[in-house]
């Protein structure tokens, strides 16, 4: 069994697992840190961005590079449509991938890169919410980028990255970066997905069984249990033990794995999501009461649902409930609609509302009462008439490189009464804001990441007792942001065999298959006669026709057309007692047996009249005679009477 690591971002994972000749891709995450190196896309030309000065690395005078790089406050940006870091395609040919398992909608953004134009012919499995909401994320991304077409694509800069200052210099593998896919690739790719339910057993070519188990992180999020008849592999991706809107995490299913692959832990190991939510509520109330607007960059699904619920209650309490919330995204309406029809994937509290029947989320009510207003874009019909300040705006994209958020920063950035609040943990907010500096608006950082932190992860491992634990190498060292916090790692304990892995590596996983499984059918089973060798242990021979179909082995009764086949083979065991043997010979009328000891428990018995010889040893007997079958049969019976059989 081997594990290939194709993504350098543990929170946008992509692995390949090979086992029993099946190639499984675990998640299909798209690394988007690359975005921070690009200038924001604005669908209203921004003078400020247009007037940024060109940058040329020291000692470089390449005319083709002219104008590709821009500079703002010591940060370098590429003036080109943004590019993304797809999974590494050098280690494995995607055409060979049999199955792709998607854990949650945040881990499938690279799917079109993997399945389209690569010869991929396998199956993709994801839960229903993962498919629906994943579609929203993919579509939103494509719309955001396509609505701001750039006239030129820059490429020369990739040759000079090493000559640029940090952090631009540290950009990871820029030559492998790709432009975003188009909508037809998105549709083609998503049409390959087969929807599955939690605890649904999916057969993979008879060799493996995969089961998604609820992971508690977001709507439809799953961990995967991959098992053969004797081995169990658990793949844990985005998981949460906190109580929010999704169905809680299913621990039981993850127990006693031979191999436990753990990834996608929290990106904010130091802060606690509950206190961050508290800070967020205070910041919003204060800003609104001070007459300022709040801008919350977000994804169109996920924690944002909890924020609507929580903030609306908080705003009521703080007397600013007359300030509206705006949710602006090309998929805002669909996201809100879907959240209310996926009851079966929600926490019990939310599920019970559906039985009334009430909508599981209060945002349907908020929309009805005009507390929450949603629009596809800020230039959509009705937005300008509905728009009122002060207000709270939720919009994308959290990288601040495209989407309506770019316009809102332009609009509100120069007023210190306004505040931008970072709640999504995917991007460093300082880097995200770099192309906009210097801004007057306030900046609050309340990243809410509900996925497992290190304490929770270590406790989980202790409870689940895997034999081998496989984690990204970064999880074995304290976070770069807090090198002194040595407790923020996955502990290496004697109970677990810990294997770290890095991007681009192929790891051998210590699972040695010794046993397989087969099925015995009625006729064969009825012929089994167990012989008790000692208390608690019996043996029986089994002979049958082997039928192998789709990796499933079945043993059936042998038809009579196979002549001479001994269908009831038995084995002898033990040793022959010489005296007993001689006595039996005598009883059968053989009286001329001459016993000769050859030493070392080897005895030869000559039957002179019969012209035969029997050599007896501890573990074998050799009967040598001429072609006289009657004699041989007689001798055979005598030998067998002296031995035990099964």
């Amino acid at each position: 069994m081997k594990l290939y690591c194709l993504s350098n971002d543990p929170n946008k994972p992509c692995h390949i697992l090979t086992f029993r000749e099946i190639t499984v891709m675990l998640d299909c995450g798209l690394s988007m840190q690359s975005l921070l190196n690009f200038l924001p896309l604005s669908f209203v030309p921004s003078n400020r961005l247009l007037n940024l000065s060109n940058y040329m690395p020291p000692d470089v005078s390449d005319p083709d590079l002219e104008g590709e790089l821009k500079e703002n406050g010591e940060r370098i940006f590429v003036d080109s449509p943004p590019e993304f870091g797809p999974p590494l395609d050098k280690l494995i040919d995607f055409a060979q991938v049999d199955v792709i398992l998607i854990s949650n909608y945040m881990c499938m953004m690279a799917l079109p890169f993997v399945t389209e134009g690569t010869g991929f012919r396998g199956r993709v499995y994801a839960t229903e919410p993962t498919l629906h909401i994943g579609r929203l994320l993919l579509e939103e991304l494509v719309i955001y980028i396509e609505q701001c077409p750039k006239s030129s694509f820059s490429s020369q800069w990739k040759n000079y990255v090493h000559k640029c200052p940090s952090p631009f210099k540290e950009a990871f593998m820029p030559k492998s970066w790709k432009q975003i896919y188009n909508m037809s690739s998105v549709n083609a790719s998503l049409s390959r997905i087969q929807m599955v339910g939690y605890n649904e057993k999916i057969d993979v070519y008879g060799a493996l069984q995969v089961i998604p188990a609820s992971s508690g992180y977001c709507l439809g999020s799953a961990n995967w249990i991959i098992s053969s008849d004797h081995e169990k592999i658990v793949y844990l991706s985005g998981s949460s033990t906190l109580t929010t809107h999704p169905r809680p995490m299913d621990h039981n299913a993850l127990k006693n794995a031979d191999v436990f692959i753990m990834t996608d832990l929290t990106q904010t190991p130091i802060s606690n999501p509950d206190s961050m939510l508290g800070v967020l509520c205070v910041v919003v109330s204060l800003t609104l009461r001070g007459g300022g607007n709040v801008l919350i960059p977000c994804y169109p699904s996920g924690v944002v649902y909890d924020l609507f619920e929580c903030l609306s209650a908080k705003m009521q309490e703080s007397g600013v409930s007359n300030c509206p919330m705006f949710f602006v995204s090309p998929v805002a309406d669909t996201s809100l609609a879907y959240s209310n029809i996926l009851a079966e994937w929600l926490s019990t509290a939310k599920q019970n509302k559906v039985y009334v029947p009430d909508e599981p989320f209060p945002h349907a009510l908020l929309v009805k009462n005009s507390k929450l207003k949603h629009f596809k874009h800020i230039y959509s019909d009705g937005f300008s008439t509905e728009f009122q300040e002060p207000c709270v705006v939720f919009c994308g994209h959290p990288s601040l490189r495209f989407g309506d958020v770019v316009q809102f920063i332009e609009l509100w950035g120069n007023n210190p009464k306004n505040c931008i609040v970072f709640t999504e943990p995917d991007y460093d907010y300082i880097e995200a804001l770099a192309p906009y500096q210097s801004l007057q608006m306030k900046i609050a950082h309340c990243a809410i990441d509900t996925s497992l932190n290190f304490t929770q992860a270590n406790k989980l491992i202790k409870d689940l007792k895997p034999t081998t634990l496989v984690v990204p190498e970064t999880y074995t060292k304290p976070p770069v942001s807090a090198p002194n916090l040595t407790e923020l790692v996955i502990h290496n304990t004697p109970e677990v065999n810990l294997i770290p892995y890095k991007w681009g590596e192929i790891i051998n996983l210590p699972v040695k298959r010794k046993q397989g499984q087969l099925f015995i059918e009625t006729d064969v089973a009825s012929k089994i006669v167990p012989v008790e060798i000692k208390p608690g242990l019996s043996l029986s021979t089994v002979t049958g026709t082997l039928n192998v179909k789709d990796n499933v082995h079945k043993v059936q009764d042998i038809l009579d057309d196979q002549k001479l086949l001994n269908k009831n083979v038995k084995y002898e065991w033990g040793s022959v007692n010489i005296n007993e043997f001689k006595q039996k010979l005598f009883q059968e009328g053989i009286t001329d047996a001459k016993v000769e000891s050859l030493g070392g428990n080897v005895v030869v018995i000559h039957l002179q009249d019969e012209d035969a010889l029997i050599q007896l040893e501890d573990n074998n007997t050799h009967v040598v005679c001429n072609g006289d079958e009657a004699l041989r049969t007689k001798l055979r019976n005598i030998v067998m009477q002296c031995l035990k059989t099964f």
Binding site: E128, V196, G197, N199, E200, K201, D333, I341, A343, E344, Q351, Y355, P357, R513, K514, Q515, G516, Q517, L518, F519, I520, E521, T522, A525, K534, G536, L537, S538, L539, T541, V542, T543, T545, L546, H553, K554, V555, I558, L559, L564, L565, N566, V569, Y571, E572, W573, N619, N620, T621, H622, V623, V624, C625, N626, G627, E629, R632, R636, V639, F646
Partner: protein, 596 residues
Amino acid sequence: MPELKVTPLGAGQDVGRSCILLSIGGKNIMLDCGMHMGYNDERRFPDFTYVTPDGPLTSYIDCVIISHFHLDHCGALPYMSEMVGYNGPIYMTHPTKAIAPILLEDMRKVSVEKKGEQNFFTSQMIKDCMKKVVAVTLHQSVMVDNELEIKAYYAGHVLGAAMFWIRVGSQSVVYTGDYNMTPDRHLGAAWIDKCRPDLLISEATYATTIRDSKRCREKDFLKKVHECIDRGGKVLIPVFALGRAQELCILLETYWERMNLKAPIYFALGLTEKANNYYKMFITWTNQKIRKTFVQRNMFDFKHIKPFDRQFIDNPGPMVVFATPGMLHAGLSLQIFKKWAPNENNMIIMPGFCVQGTVGHKILNGAKKVEFENRQIVEVKMSVEYMSFSAHADAKGIMQLIQYCEPRNVMLVHGEAEKIAFLKEKIQQEFKIDCFNPANGETNIISTPVKIPIDVSLPLLKAEAKKFNALPPDPKRRRILHGVLVMKDSNVCLMDVDDACKEAGINRHVIRFTSTVSINDNGPSVSTAHKLHTFLTDKLPQWGVTFSEGEISVESVLVKVEGDDDESQKTVYVSWTNQDEDLGSYILGLINVMGQ
């Protein structure tokens, strides 16, 4: 031979009161727990004394499975769990869990408050009963206990309707409940994979019908409604609040829009608004088209259809009214019927099946007068139309389902006796499998093949594969697996004999025989050996006869030739182990004959 035991307490050669007991691998399962709409006495509930003469059922039943919310499938549930007594788990889908208690409460009100029945279950009992319900999602594998596994499949009959696959060990059964194999205006078609159950228990409501195309039936329905409205008549459509009602509403709504009709369409208040809400929230259970468009336009927000008020019964002029219940056995639909029946301009459209004993059943059978409990006699002059809109599988659909899941046996329930008997014939002929049709209280025993999973050592499998692959390809050649089953405590593993002996801590004793035969053949002994090889290869076509270093071998049998090249007499040694006794002595015999 392991077996399955099935006893219908209801729905055996009958429609209504579905309740089937299944024994599988030592587990007892109750499939549905319905009531019969045609009776007001104790016959309306299944006879649970069959399970145990008295006392609670908990220790006799491992779980109860409810296929969908129709009362003929879940109407006796509170009675069974709260009055007879059952505390075990009850499984149903989420929509069924949401909707069933509402229908139960509605039915309870009609029975107790309107008909004054005694000894009926209470509202609290419905609530207590629902607390025992475990909601399941489609395709989720649910372990009821360590051995009993169930899984729901989409049945397409009403919102949330499911077929259930049930497994214990290697035995499995599929119970369909009611299902529909053709997608309709709001639901998709039933679907199941090739799960090859030992037994498929299928409903057979429309066992002998091959329904004409859906489109024709719809056209016919709209034409009849339109004609009645044109002549100023009133149309009564008795429906269940959930299910067919929503489909017919979508149908009329679009027709009214297209034809620009003005006559009012009413939907009897009560369940309906709520009902449409359920459809909105469980939209993932509807068909693809509705699911795709629900963000833009919710199909269940109706423009032309307005809530009904009792006072409208006597309003003049044409109107269309949907009212519950569907079989015209009680409630508002019956009340409206009594008022409108004597007028020949009016029309009643029965869009579904009606069980025996109901008013619906009577008028469908042409009754011109209906007598009620209080001696009231109602003349039926209105036209009575039957439109089979009930979403059940027809004969073709049932055959299709059998084809999909490839059962070893079929059992037909939930259908009239003669119709079931007819279909049974057809299934046996077409699929060459056994088909059962037990009556209520009758037990059928179905034996099932054993398929025991055991561990097998990989070296044993690999050795077999290597040996098989080494032989020249022959499509007729069978792969033979031979090994020793080691049964140690609860572990069972098949391995080769040497490993088995090691595992058992014993020494194997090998018996070998060597017999000598003299034959006359001139030339070197190698050429004699070659001749023997050719001879044996010819005589033993199914065996791999090999020749190397002057020795011929077949399995453990070795044949060697000795003798001087210039002497014609050669000695042939034939040697084999006791395990190849038959083969060895056969080869010896062949060579003996050759030597003579």
